[in-house]
C-alpha cells in the first residue's frame, strides 16, 4: 500500500486493516520479507488511526425547514 492509498483510508478502514495485518502476522505462515512488509504496513496504519483521532474536528450542520416542510442542511452556528 503506498502513501496515497494510506492517506485516503478512513479511520475505521485503517483500524480494521490494522486488525487484518495483525491476524496475518499472527498466523505465522509468512516469510521474513512478507512479515517485515506487513509490520511496516501495520505501523503506518496504526499511526494513521492516531492521526485521524488527533486531527478530526466535529462537523456540525442543522436542518432548516420552511413552512411547507422543505428543508435544507446548513452549517450550524452556536448563536
Amino acid at each position: 500500500m503506498d502513501k496515497k492509498q494510506l492517506e485516503s483510508l478512513s479511520f475505521e478502514d485503517s483500524y480494521s486493516k490494522l486488525d487484518d495485518v495483525i491476524q496475518r502476522l499472527e498466523s505465522g505462515e509468512l516469510n521474513l520479507e512478507e512479515s517485515v512488509a506487513l509490520y511496516q504496513e501495520g505501523m503506518e496504519l496504526a499511526q494513521r488511526c492516531g492521526q485521524h483521532l488527533d486531527n478530526a474536528e466535529l462537523r456540525v450542520t442543522q436542518l432548516l425547514a420552511d413552512a411547507a416542510d422543505n428543508f435544507t442542511e446548513t452549517a450550524y452556528s452556536e448563536s
Binding site: 495483525i22 521474513l32 512479515s35 492516531g50 483521532l53 474536528e57 456540525v60 450542520t61
Partner: protein
C-alpha cells in the same frame, strides 16, 4: 355507667383515625384557602372543594423542602395522613408533600399510554437494534438553543470527533412540542446517510418532559429507519420515548457517549496493537535467528577440515606404528645377522686352515686344486696355510 373523660374520648377517636389505613399516606386534591405561615415556619391552611373542607397543617421541615409554596386559590394535591389535634379537638390533615393539581392526571395518562404500547409490543427487546459501532453521521433531535445540544457536541468532540452531526432542531416542551419533535424526527428519516439518531432534552419537571411521553412520537420512533438513542431529563426520569428507543440513556451526555466509540480507549488499543505488531515481528526475527544458529551448528558438524584432521591423526598413528615396527624389525634383523656371522665364522676357510687344512692353487693360473688329476710333476703350487702361503713343486703325481 361511669363517664369517661374528654381526653379519653379524644384519644379513642385518634386511635380509630390513626388505624384507618385509607386515611394514611394518601394524596388529597383540593383548592387552598386561608393559607398562613406562622413565625415558627409551620403552615396552616384549609383544602376545600364543592362538598367539604379539610384543615391542613404542614410543619416547617416539610414547608422548607417545597419548590414553591402553595397560596390561597391554588389547586393542589397534598400527600400525608389524617389525625387528631387533641388540644384543639379537631381532626386535620398532616401534609408531607404538595404538588400542583393535574400531575396525578398526567401520571395516569402516562401509565395508560405506556401500558397500551407495551401490550402492542413496541417496547419488546427484539425490536431493540444495536448501535452501529462506527457511526459516520449522527442525527440529533433536540432544541437548537438548549444546553442539551451543547452537552452532546462536547461529548462527541471529546470522544470521537470523526463523526458528522446533523441537528434537526425542535421545540422540546410545551403544547406544540410533540408535533415539532415528530416533524424533526421525520426530517432525519428522509436523510439517507444517517447512521443513528439521538433524541434528547435536558432535565426539567415532569411537565417539562411531557412531550416525550407523546404516543404518536413513540410510534414514529418505533418505525425509525436507524437505531434511536434517547437521553431525556435526568437519571431518574423515564419517558415513553425512553421505553421505545433502541437504547435508553439517562441524559443527553450519556446518549452522546453511547452513540460513538471511546476515542481514548481506541487510542489505547491502537498503542496496544502497535506493541503487538512489534512483538510479533521480534518473535519472528528471534525464531529465524534460532533457526540460523541451528543450521550453523549443523554446518559446523559437516566441516571437511574435521575429516582431514581425523585423517591426519590416522596417518600419524600409522606412522608411529610403522616406526615401532621398523625398529623392532631392525633389532631382530641385527640379531639374525649376528647369528649368521657367527655361523659364517664357523664356516670360514681360515678356521679350517687353523685346524691344519690347506688350500692349494695352481700358482700360474690361480686355479684351485682339489684333485690329484689336476697336478703334474714340476708344477708349481701355492699352498695357503692359516698364517700365510708357501710355494711348492710337485715331484710326483
Amino acid at each position: 355507667m361511669q363517664p369517661i373523660t374528654v381526653g379519653q374520648v379524644t384519644r379513642q377517636i385518634k386511635d380509630v383515625l390513626d388505624e384507618t389505613e385509607t386515611l394514611q399516606d394518601i394524596w388529597v386534591t383540593g383548592e387552598v384557602s386561608n393559607f398562613s405561615r406562622a413565625a415558627s415556619g409551620h403552615c396552616y391552611f384549609t383544602l376545600q372543594d364543592s362538598e367539604a373542607t379539610l384543615r391542613c397543617v404542614m410543619w416547617r421541615n416539610v414547608a422548607i423542602r417545597l419548590a414553591s409554596m402553595p397560596a390561597t386559590g391554588d389547586l393542589v394535591e397534598v400527600f400525608g395522613y389524617v389525625s387528631v389535634y387533641e388540644r384543639g379537638g379537631a381532626y386535620q390533615f398532616y401534609v408531607n408533600d404538595v404538588r400542583a393539581s393535574g400531575v396525578g392526571q398526567l401520571w395516569l395518562a402516562f401509565l395508560r399510554v405506556k401500558e397500551r404500547l407495551e401490550r402492542e409490543g413496541l417496547f419488546d427487546p427484539e425490536h431493540k437494534r444495536p448501535v452501529p459501532p462506527w457511526p459516520k453521521r449522527i442525527g440529533v433531535v433536540t432544541s437548537a438553543t438548549g444546553a442539551a445540544f451543547q452537552d452532546i457536541l462536547n461529548v462527541l468532540s471529546q470522544r470521537y470527533p470523526l463523526v458528522d452531526v446533523v441537528l434537526s432542531p425542535s421545540l422540546v416542551q410545551g403544547i406544540q412540542a410533540p408535533e415539532a419533535l415528530r416533524k424533526a424526527l421525520e426530517r432525519l428519516y428522509r436523510l439517507s446517510d444517517i447512521d443513528l439518531i439521538i433524541i434528547a432534552r435536558g432535565g426539567g419537571s415532569i411537565e417539562d418532559l411531557w412531550a416525550f411521553n407523546d404516543e404518536e412520537l413513540a410510534r414514529l420512533i418505533h418505525v425509525a429507519p436507524v437505531p434511536v438513542i434517547s437521553g431525556v431529563g435526568h437519571e431518574t426520569d423515564f419517558t415513553i420515548t425512553d421505553f421505545v428507543a433502541d437504547l435508553r440513556t439517562p441524559t443527553p451526555s450519556t446518549a452522546a457517549a453511547a452513540a460513538v466509540p471511546d476515542g481514548e480507549a481506541l487510542r489505547a488499543r491502537i498503542l496496544e496493537e502497535m506493541e503487538t505488531l512489534t512483538s510479533l515481528i521480534e518473535g519472528k526475527l528471534e525464531r529465524l535467528h534460532d533457526d540460523l544458529r541451528q543450521r550453523e551448528r549443523a554446518l559446523e558438524r559437516c566441516d571437511p577440515t574435521h575429516e582431514i584432521l581425523g585423517l591426519r591423526q590416522q596417518v600419524d598413528d600409522l606412522m608411529r606404528r610403522a616406526r615401532v615396527a621398523w625398529t623392532t624389525k631392525l633389532r631382530t634383523d641385527r640379531a639374525r645377522v649376528e647369528t649368521q656371522s657367527a655361523r659364517l665364522q664357523a664356516l670360514s676357510p681360515l678356521e679350517v686352515l687353523g685346524r691344519g687344512y690347506a688350500i692349494v692353487q695352481d700358482r700360474a693360473s690361480g686355479q684351485r686344486i682339489s684333485s690329484v688329476q689336476q697336478t703334474e710333476p714340476s708344477q708349481d703350487l701355492q699352498i695357503h696355510l692359516s698364517d700365510g702361503a708357501i710355494t711348492a713343486r710337485v715331484t710326483e703325481s
